[in-house]
């Protein structure tokens, strides 16, 4: 069964798709304050990362640049044989000002999936569409657009899929206003 480790994938991407990997802090060692403040100048981010010890953006997974996502996906499909794009989802890192898209690719012979991530700023969340290459990406990209407000240029029909067309706003973003019993108990504490 095909199985490719993250380190091996990163190595191959660095060799065959130069410039596609985005710089990322590894998860294994905690980011120091000096390290975080160095990078904070180059990227929009909230206060939390400089102050808090928890670095949500640190990851061991493969993070690629958004504009190279189609190249990397094709490389996974045609060279490495990971043909099935199983899942696309979005994660909102509100305090860091980042929306992360997570792609899961499977090999048809079985084995664990390969995970590709890409990160875009929340205010301008634009990622090229993969629908032309994987028709199955159609609804998943529409879902990410509907609930997280990620735009996918190249998508043939980028409209809301769960919420109604008249609705404004992106309900799964973390700053979407919410009220309810769950939040009441928080306020009383």
């Amino acid at each position: 069964m095909p199985s490719m480790s993250v380190a091996e994938l990163r190595e191959r991407l660095m060799r065959d798709q130069p410039g596609a990997l985005a710089p990322v802090r590894p998860k294994t060692h905690a980011a120091t304050n000096g390290h975080a403040s160095e990078e904070s100048a180059s990227r929009p981010r909230g206060r939390k990362v400089e102050e808090g010890p928890v670095d949500l953006l640190a990851t061991d997974d493969t993070v690629v640049l958004a504009e190279r996502i189609a190249d990397v996906a094709l490389y996974l499909r045609d060279t490495l044989g990971y043909q099935l794009l199983s899942n696309i989802t979005a994660v909102d890192y509100l305090a860091d000002g980042v929306i992360e898209l997570v792609y899961h690719f499977y090999h048809l012979d079985g084995g664990p999936p390969i995970v590709i991530k890409t990160r875009v700023p929340r205010e301008q969340a634009v990622v090229p569409s993969l629908t032309a290459l994987w028709p199955g990406a159609d609804l998943q990209e529409r879902e990410a657009f509907d609930l997280y407000g990620v735009h996918f240029p190249g998508h043939p029909y980028l409209k809301r899929v769960y919420m109604w067309d008249e609705f404004e706003g992106y309900p799964m973003r973390k700053d979407f206003p919410k009220q309810g019993d769950k939040y009441l108990s928080d306020e009383e504490e």
Binding site: L94, P171, P177
Partner: protein
Amino acid sequence: MPDDQDIQIELEKQGVFVSTINRFYNWGRRSSVWPMAFGLACCAIEMMATGFARYDIARFGSEMFRASPRQADLMIVAGTVTKKMAPQVVRLYNQMPEPRYVISMGACATSGGPFRDGYNVLRGIDLFVPVDVYIPGCPPRPEALLHALMTLQAQIDNQKLNRVRWYGKREAKDFPVPAFGKQGLEIDGRLVDPVGGLPLVSAYSAPLHGEQRTGQLEHPELVRQFPIMDDAVELESPTKAVGVAPEIAIDDLRRKTEASRA
């Protein structure tokens, strides 16, 4: 009344059947409550089980699940009503001929259930349609649905023809169908149930109690915080308030203190 019953039993022994119009009508209606074949979530699976031989809803005369609201007497709201589904549910209810009944089956249809604080689920179908019988449970067992049906039959038994709203020339009442708006469900252009917010209208009371809006809002002390509605909230864009949502800020604080403790 006991006298009446004694006389009646005595007469029935003699082969004479005496009844009142009320009893006769109610007996007819309660013995053939036809539900609508209409399910929304996992409660519908229990509803189907109730219809099959093991639980056998036919014992109560309700085995005819009708595929059309025009032929149905009872709407079993079986499952989670999302805000996107709510207009269709109300429209189906409006299309049912009188007399019509509603059973709110399960926690979701009754109150929103585990999704109560989510942005997309109605906090109870009674916000838009009056409910005769509520069933707790997640999902309720078929026995619970049968008990609800028996409760409904008991309610029908107590109805008086000169009191019910649908008898005679009284006009059928249509319930307003919510429309999709920019911020949530609207009735007549007025926001009634914002996405992510608390409902701005109260629930309908049961038909026994007049099926009026009760006027009891959930958490009336709270300012509804959907940014466009609340002048006090500073807006960054039409759909976004300035800064971080309070619950996120609290989460971040908590995480920070936990991390510093560790």
